[in-house]
C-alpha cells in the first residue's frame, strides 16, 4: 500500500488556484521531492497531506486514512516552516514532550543522536543558532519514529555546511525504511536526496521521474537547465499567476 497519495487534488484560496489537480504517490521507503519555484503550490500540497488544509476537490490519503485522522498523525512526522517556537524550553524538553504524543517513539538518546543535538540538549531553544533550531524541528519530526516524514523546505536559509549535515540526516532516516516527502526550490537538494522528483509549476505537476529522467526530459545535462526548460522562464512566474 502507498504511504501517501494525492488523487486529482485541487485547492483554491478564493480566486487563486494554488493546486490545479495533481496526482502524487509516495511508496514505502521512497524519498520524493516536490520541486518548484516559490508560489508553485508546494507548501499547499504538504499542508494537505498533514491534514492542516482541506482540498477543494480530489482526495488525499496517508497510509490509507484521511490525513487529519489520528491514525495518520501517529505515523507521520512533519517539519514546517515555523517562525518561532516556545523559546524557554530546553532542547531535551521539547523532544520529550513531542515523543510523548506517539505510541512508539524513539528513545531520547537516539533522537538526539539522529538530529545531532547531543551536545546542546540542555540549551534553551531561544539560545540556539538558526541551524541548531532547524535541527530541533527535524528532531521533533522524527522523534515519533514515523513511517512518513514531511519536510517543507527544511534547509531554507541554512549555510552550505549545515544543509549538507541535514541531508545526511534525511538519508539516514530513509535508509531505515522511512518514506520522505520533501519540498525544496534547491535543485541540487532534490537531485542529491530523492528517488523521484515531481516538478510543480503554477499548481500543476509538469514533470515527474527519477532525477536522471528529469534531466533527460529537459534535454540537458544539469538538473537546473532541465528545470528551466520544463517550467519556462522563471522570471515571468510572478506576473502570470
Amino acid at each position: 500500500m502507498a504511504v501517501a497519495q494525492l488523487h486529482a487534488v485541487a485547492k483554491n484560496y478564493g480566486a487563486i488556484a494554488a493546486l490545479r489537480g495533481i496526482d502524487l504517490t509516495i511508496e514505502p521507503g521512497e524519498v520524493v521531492s516536490l520541486l518548484g519555484p516559490n508560489g508553485a503550490g508546494k507548501t499547499t500540497a504538504v499542508r494537505i497531506l498533514l491534514g492542516l488544509v482541506q482540498p477543494s476537490s480530489g482526495r488525499a490519503e496517508v497510509f490509507g486514512h484521511p490525513p487529519a485522522s489520528q491514525y495518520a498523525r501517529l505515523r507521520r512526522g512533519a517539519q514546517l516552516q515555523v517562525a518561532r517556537v516556545p523559546e524557554t524550553l530546553r532542547v531535551r524538553e521539547h523532544i520529550q514532550l513531542f515523543s510523548s504524543y506517539y505510541e512508539k517513539p524513539l528513545p531520547l538518546e537516539e533522537t538526539l543522536e539522529a538530529a545531532g543535538l547531543g551536545d546542546i540538549r540542555n540549551r534553551l531553544f531561544g539560545e540556539l543558532s538558526g541551524g541548531q533550531k532547524q535541527r530541533v524541528l527535524f528532531a521533533l519530526a522524527i522523534c515519533g519514529n514515523p513511517g512518513l516524514l514531511c519536510l517543507d523546505e527544511p534547509t531554507v536559509g541554512l549555510d552550505v555546511e549545515t544543509r549538507r549535515g541535514l541531508w545526511a540526516r534525511i538519508r539516514g532516516y530513509a535508509k531505515r525504511g522511512g518514506s520522505v516527502l520533501l519540498t525544496t526550490h534547491y535543485l541540487d537538494e532534490a537531485d542529491a536526496l530523492s528517488h523521484r522528483i515531481a516538478v510543480l509549476h503554477r499548481g500543476l505537476i509538469v514533470a515527474e521521474g527519477t532525477p536522471a529522467q528529469i534531466k533527460r526530459q529537459g534535454a540537458s545535462e544539469g538538473l537546473e537547465d532541465a528545470f528551466l526548460a520544463i517550467t519556462g522562464n522563471p522570471n515571468d512566474v510572478e506576473e502570470v499567476a
Binding site: 484560496y13 478564493g14 499542508r47 498533514l50 491534514g51 492542516l52 488544509v53 482541506q54 489520528q70 498523525r73 501517529l74 507521520r76 512533519a78 514546517l80 516552516q81 515555523v82 517562525a83 518561532r84 517556537v85 516556545p86 524557554t88 524550553l89 524538553e93 520529550q96 514532550l97 513531542f98 510523548s100 504524543y101 506517539y102 534553551l124 524541528l137 521533533l140 515519533g144
Partner: protein, 252 residues
Amino acid sequence: MSNVYLLEAKMEFLKSLRMKAYSLSTVLFPLMFYCFFGLMMGREQANGLMPMARYTLATYGAFSVMGATLFAFGVGIAVERGLGWMQVKRASPMPPAAYFLAKGVVSVAFGAIVVALLFGLGAAFGGVRMPLGQWLAMGGALVAGAIPFCALGLAIGNFAGPNSAPAMVNMIYLPMAFCGGMWIPFQFLPRGIQAIAPLLPSFHLSQIALRILGAPTQGAAATHVEALLGFTLLFAGIAWLGHAREREKMYG
C-alpha cells in the same frame, strides 16, 4: 496517555516560569499594589467598616487570577498561533485538549500562588485574621473565578495577532481592573463607573470574594455567580468564532 497531559502541563509550567515577562509581572504587580494600597494604607477604613488590608485582600486576589489567566491565554495563544507553532502541534498526534488544559491548569496555578502570597502578606503584615475555613473558601472562590478569564483570554488569543496581543490584553485588563473595583473600593468609584461595573466580570468576581470576607457588597451572591457563568459562555462563544474564522482561512 494520561502521561501526555501531565507532561504537557509540566512543560507549560516550566515555559511560563522561565518567561520573565509573564512570571514576574503576574506575581509582582498584585503584590506590589497590595503593599501600597492594602498594607501602607492599612489603618484607613474602607467604607468605615473594614481595614484596607483586609478589604483589598479580596480585590487584589481577584486581580491576580485575572492577570495570570488573561496573559497566559491571550498573549500565549496569540503568539503560538500567529507564528506557526500551533500548526506543528496540530499536525502532530497531540490530543488537542492537552494544550488548552495545560494552559488552564498552569495559569490558574500561577494565580493561586499569587493569592497564597497575598494571603501570607495580609496575615503577617496586615493583621488579617480569619477562621481557616474562610481563608479556604475565599481562595477556592478566587481560583474557580479564574474560569471566565481563561475564556476571555482564549477569545483574545484567537483573534489577536502575535505582536498586538500584549497591548490588547492590557487595554482590556487594566480598565477592567479599575472599573470593576479591584484597585479602589467600589464605593469610592465615580458614579458613572459604578453604573457600568456590573457589565464587567472583574466586578462580579471581586464582589464574590468580598462577600466571603464579610465586606459590604452590591447585589445578591447568586447574581454574581450567574453573571460569571454568563460571561464564560459569551467569551467561549467568541473564542469559538475566532477559531472558526481561522479554520475558514485554512479550510476555505
